[in-house]
Structures are given as structure tokens and as C-alpha cells.
């Protein structure tokens, strides 16, 4: 697992308060449909990614980050 992938998964596990470890998290998991996030959770998740990777994720992009893989891809491409 790349550093980014690992870090993103850690943030997801922490923010959504999941009972799995980062390494067990499925890349295709959807925050809302599979991981039980509500709209506020997803906003907080994006805020946490912004903070960890010291970047600003515009609203249009944030809306498109709905799965673990999309978050990894976004950070990989933009940071």
C-alpha cells in the first residue's frame, strides 16, 4: 500500500469511527452506501483530508469523492 493510500484509509477509519483497521478497508467502499456516513460525515472527511494533505479541495471536487479509491486518486493527483 502506498503512503497516501494508507494515510487516506486511516483518516476514513478515524473520521467514520469504523470498527475495521485501515488495512482491511476495501478500496471500492462507498462512504455513504457501505460505510454508513451521513452528509455531515462526508464534509468532515473532506475537511480532514484537506488538513492532513495541506490542500484545499474545491466544493465541485469534494462532491465527486464518494469512495475510498476516489479519495486516494484525488489526493494522489492533486497533492
Amino acid at each position: 500500500m502506498s503512503d497516501i493510500e494508507n494515510k487516506v484509509k486511516e483518516i476514513v477509519v478515524e473520521q467514520l469511527d469504523l470498527d475495521v483497521s485501515a488495512s482491511e478497508l476495501n478500496n471500492s467502499a462507498s462512504f455513504v452506501d457501505d460505510l454508513g456516513a451521513d452528509s455531515l460525515d462526508t464534509v468532515e472527511l473532506v475537511m480532514a483530508l484537506e488538513e492532513e494533505f495541506e490542500c484545499e479541495i474545491p466544493e465541485e471536487d469534494a462532491e465527486k469523492i464518494t469512495t475510498v479509491q476516489q479519495a486516494i486518486d484525488y489526493v494522489t493527483a492533486n497533492v
Partner: protein, 245 residues
């Protein structure tokens, strides 16, 4: 003490109601940051708050950069507030027929858009700590209306809707959002009322006097402290009975 180890931010704390709120929260144990629009105003706030570990800061609530500077400044100093009291406000009274677009815009911006700006800037910290109190100072005029104050009434009514909506958004994070709506309180804002208007006013107030700034400060403390923990989206009217919701 009730607010020990909490940081509270009070806008417009240089005088009037805001000053009284800042003093009351400080006496209850909070580290209070009070704001004024000028350096000298901020200095005067530091003078009365420093004994409690608080301080004054410069802030223009209509200016995004100024709000951002305050966020950055507080992060480095006191830490971000768990209690935000949006108190800064202005009036620009005119009959609608004589009200310029500027009169309208300035009042809406300072009394309503500022609350959007400040809440957005400071709610992030509250989301993280899963704990926060936002208290917006409204006005009885927002519920009653008043000839010559269509701009002010619109802004003050608007913040009630804002508070109800935000209360629903962030309730799950332990953040409450409420309004304290003063009636007529003795401050600079009401000092200019003509004598005949004051007399007419007292006739409509069952408790037969203007309120004191301290009456508002106590209501704010009630909502900010443990006593207010199960209250959200509510408007608390403090007006001597002149309007009963």
C-alpha cells in the same frame, strides 16, 4: 465555575450588550475574546478582560479577510472558541421609500451575512471537538417588525431561520445554535430615541422599563452553560413582555 476552560468569542464587545456579555462569560470562567472595529476599541476590551485571561481583537464582521485573520490569530493564541456569540450589529433606520440600496445592504451584511461568515469560519473547530454553542443576538423587531426598520427587521428575522437550519445540520455533533432576542435595552443604539417615543414604548412593556444589558448577558450565559445543553434552534425573547412569542 460554569465555563471553566472554555474559550468564548463575542463580536462587538466594545460597548453595550456585547460588553456586558463578554464580562458575564468571563466572570463565569471563560477565556473571552471580545472584538471591536478599531485598535483602540480592542485595547479597551483587553483592559477589562485581561484580569480574566481574555483579550480584545480587531474584527470587521463584514470583511472575509478580517474574519480569516481572526481565525488564524486565535488558533495560535487562545485556541478556537467553543462558544461564539454573534452580537455585532447596526441600525440604519429609514422608511422604505427613503432607504437607499446601501442602507439596505449595510444592515443586511453586518447583521445577517456576518453570521453566516462567522459561523462558517468557527464551526470547524467545534465540529472537531464535538462541542459548541453558537448564540446569535437577534431583536424583538425581527418578530414584530417596526416602521422605519425594514432592513433591520429582515436581517433579524433572517437570523432566526438561519439558526434553526444550522441547528439541524450540526446537532449530531453536539453543537447548539440559538437566538437571544432583546427588546429595548439601554445602550448607544437606543440612546437617541426621542422622549415621546420612549414614553409610548413604556406603555407597551408590561414590566414598564427598558431592559439592561445585563438582562441579555444572563440569557446568553444560560444558553452557553450546562443549563442550555438541551436547547437548540430556539429563540429566547428577553423584552419585558412587549412581545410574547
Amino acid at each position: 465555575m460554569q465555563l471553566e476552560q472554555q474559550v468564548a468569542l463575542v463580536t462587538g464587545a466594545s460597548r453595550g450588550i456585547g460588553k456586558s456579555i463578554a464580562e458575564t462569560l468571563a466572570q463565569a470562567g471563560a477565556v473571552v475574546i471580545g472584538t471591536a472595529t478599531s485598535e483602540s476599541g480592542a485595547g479597551a476590551i483587553s483592559d477589562y478582560l485581561s484580569a480574566y485571561g481574555g483579550q480584545g481583537r480587531v474584527l470587521d464582521v463584514t470583511d472575509d479577510d478580517s474574519v480569516q485573520q481572526l481565525v488564524t490569530g486565535l488558533k495560535e493564541a487562545s485556541g478556537l472558541p467553543q462558544i461564539l456569540v454573534n452580537n455585532a450589529g447596526i441600525t440604519e433606520d429609514k422608511l422604505l421609500m427613503r432607504m437607499s440600496a446601501t442602507d439596505w445592504q449595510r444592515v443586511l451584511d453586518t447583521n445577517l451575512s456576518a453570521i453566516y461568515r462567522m459561523s462558517k469560519a468557527f464551526i470547524r473547530g467545534m465540529m472537531k471537538t464535538r462541542n459548541g454553542r453558537i448564540i446569535n443576538i437577534g431583536s424583538v423587531i425581527g418578530s414584530m417588525g417596526n416602521a422605519g426598520q425594514s432592513n433591520y427587521a429582515a436581517a433579524k428575522a433572517g437570523l432566526i431561520g438561519f439558526s434553526k437550519a444550522l441547528a439541524q445540520e450540526v446537532g449530531a455533533r453536539g453543537i447548539t445554535v440559538n437566538v437571544v432576542a432583546p427588546g429595548y435595552i439601554q445602550t448607544d443604539m437606543t440612546a437617541d430615541l426621542p422622549e415621546d417615543q420612549k414614553t409610548a414604548l413604556l406603555d407597551k412593556i408590561p414590566l414598564q422599563k427598558l431592559g439592561e444589558t445585563d438582562d441579555i448577558a444572563r440569557a446568553v450565559l444560560f444558553l452557553a452553560a450546562e443549563s442550555g445543553r438541551y436547547i437548540t434552534g430556539e429563540t429566547l425573547h428577553v423584552n419585558g413582555g412587549m412581545y410574547m412569542a
